[in-house]
């Protein structure tokens, strides 16, 4: 064998040796290949997680009055509604998915 090894950047190599390849599997995975994304266990054949908010999908819901005493609004609570603007307490916690895309969120203390 004529190949003479060398050490480059801490790696053994020689002129005829290919570089090592790193990736074994990258997305997209085949069907039923499970993986964790955004903290959820899912697999490639599963549809997106169902939305389970209280008013989710109420497409005729155009306005809602949320008392200042409400301090928490769950994921998808008002997703897929016709809301364009809501007012909530400034210390109320909510998720990016709590309201439909583009809905303006106002706060009782005057902020937006």
């Amino acid at each position: 064998m004529s190949a003479t090894w060398n050490i480059i950047d801490g790696e053994f190599t020689h002129s005829d040796l290919p570089v090592s390849i790193a990736a074994v599997m990258v997305r997209p995975y085949p069907p039923e290949w499970w993986y964790i994304t955004d903290g959820r266990l899912t697999h490639s054949a599963l549809p997106p997680s169902p939305k389970a908010g209280a008013f989710c999908g109420c497409t005729s819901l155009k306005s809602v009055s949320i008392p200042e005493s409400v301090k928490s609004i769950g994921e998808f609570a008002f997703a897929d509604t016709a809301l364009t603007r809501v007012k909530i307490a400034s210390d109320c916690t909510y998720y990016p998915t709590s309201f439909p895309d583009g809905c303006v969120i106002e706060f009782y203390d005057g902020g937006e």
Partner: protein
């Protein structure tokens, strides 16, 4: 896109899908060679998302032209993704393989000459079977870079496979890496100028016969290689001794290795010490 070309060496068939590749790669023989080239990258999931992907018979000489075939997903447990007969596969990247069958399989079409059938390829993915299985004599892999996660041996064959200047990264719970069935009293080159980086915690033998005896595991030559094999237990390298080119084994990752012939275990202090490695007979460049 339709297939172009006439299949000659100067005007190869140019294929752009898995089905087209399967159609044209199956043509030809050693006496009437056919040539095929990939015309673009192929996403096999586009054609076969259900895992029922048909085998590619490599009777023709397929040049990947540096392109990639990705997402090769197979749920079949018999056969192989590529069945090499008289052909070859070169200069292609096979990425995101996920298969329950072997990636490559050869039979008696590969003669005792052990000709190179796969060269200049990058191959990575998950293989729930032998990566390479051979019914008789083995083909050679040359200048290939493998990154395979498996759950059995890397290869299974009657006679030892041949890896020339290959980078092999392999993870498996198997107790063996190369399963050799019936090599008899002959000696065969198995690894030459190659880098083996393996994570095999249950490894007991680098090579082993199917009967789980060690009578065959001394029937291979391992020359001029770097072996970096992580394992928890005691294992046998099982290569043939004699005046062979020196190979080195990373001792810190395989603390209980036994049966070393022309393979020198090197501790961590000297692992990247070219001067020391040269002094023990390993063919390595030493700075002036």
């Amino acid at each position: 896109m339709s297939i172009t070309g006439t299949g000659t060496i100067d005007d190869p068939y140019v294929v752009t899908t898995w089905d087209e590749l399967a159609e044209k790669a199956a043509l030809g023989s050693s006496s009437a060679p056919v040539y095929v080239k990939l015309g673009n990258d192929i996403n096999a999931l586009d054609e076969y998302p259900d895992g029922n992907i048909p085998r590619i018979t490599l009777a023709a000489n397929v040049d990947g032209d540096g392109r990639t075939i990705r997402n090769i997903y197979s749920t079949q447990t018999s056969n192989s993704l590529f069945f090499i007969t008289s052909g070859s596969l070169s200069n292609v990247k096979l990425k995101n393989i996920y298969t329950y069958q072997s990636v490559f399989f050869t039979t008696t079409h590969i003669t005792a000459s052990r000709r190179t059938a796969v060269q200049d390829c990058e191959i990575s993915g998950v293989c729930h079977n032998y990566f390479y299985s051979a019914g008789e004599n083995c083909a050679a892999f040359q200048r290939c870079s493998l990154n395979i996660t498996g759950d059995s041996e890397l290869t299974e064959s009657n006679y030892p496979p041949l890896f020339l200047s290959c980078f092999i990264r392999f993870r498996s719970p198997s107790a063996r890496m190369f399963l050799v069935n019936s090599v008899g009293s002959s000696r065969y080159q198995m690894l030459e100028g190659s880098y083996i980086e393996a994570d095999m915690p249950a490894l007991t033998n680098l090579t082993r016969s199917s009967g789980d005896t060690d009578t065959k595991d001394t029937a291979v030559y391992i020359d001029n290689c770097v072996l970096d094999i992580k394992t928890n237990g005691e294992f046998s390298l099982g290569c043939s001794s004699g005046a062979r080119a020196r190979s080195i084994l990373r001792a810190s990752h395989a603390p209980n290795v036994t049966g070393v012939a022309n393979i020198t275990a090197v501790d961590e202090t000297h692992w990247l010490d070219a001067e020391y490695l040269s002094s023990i007979g390993f063919s390595i460049e030493v700075a002036e």
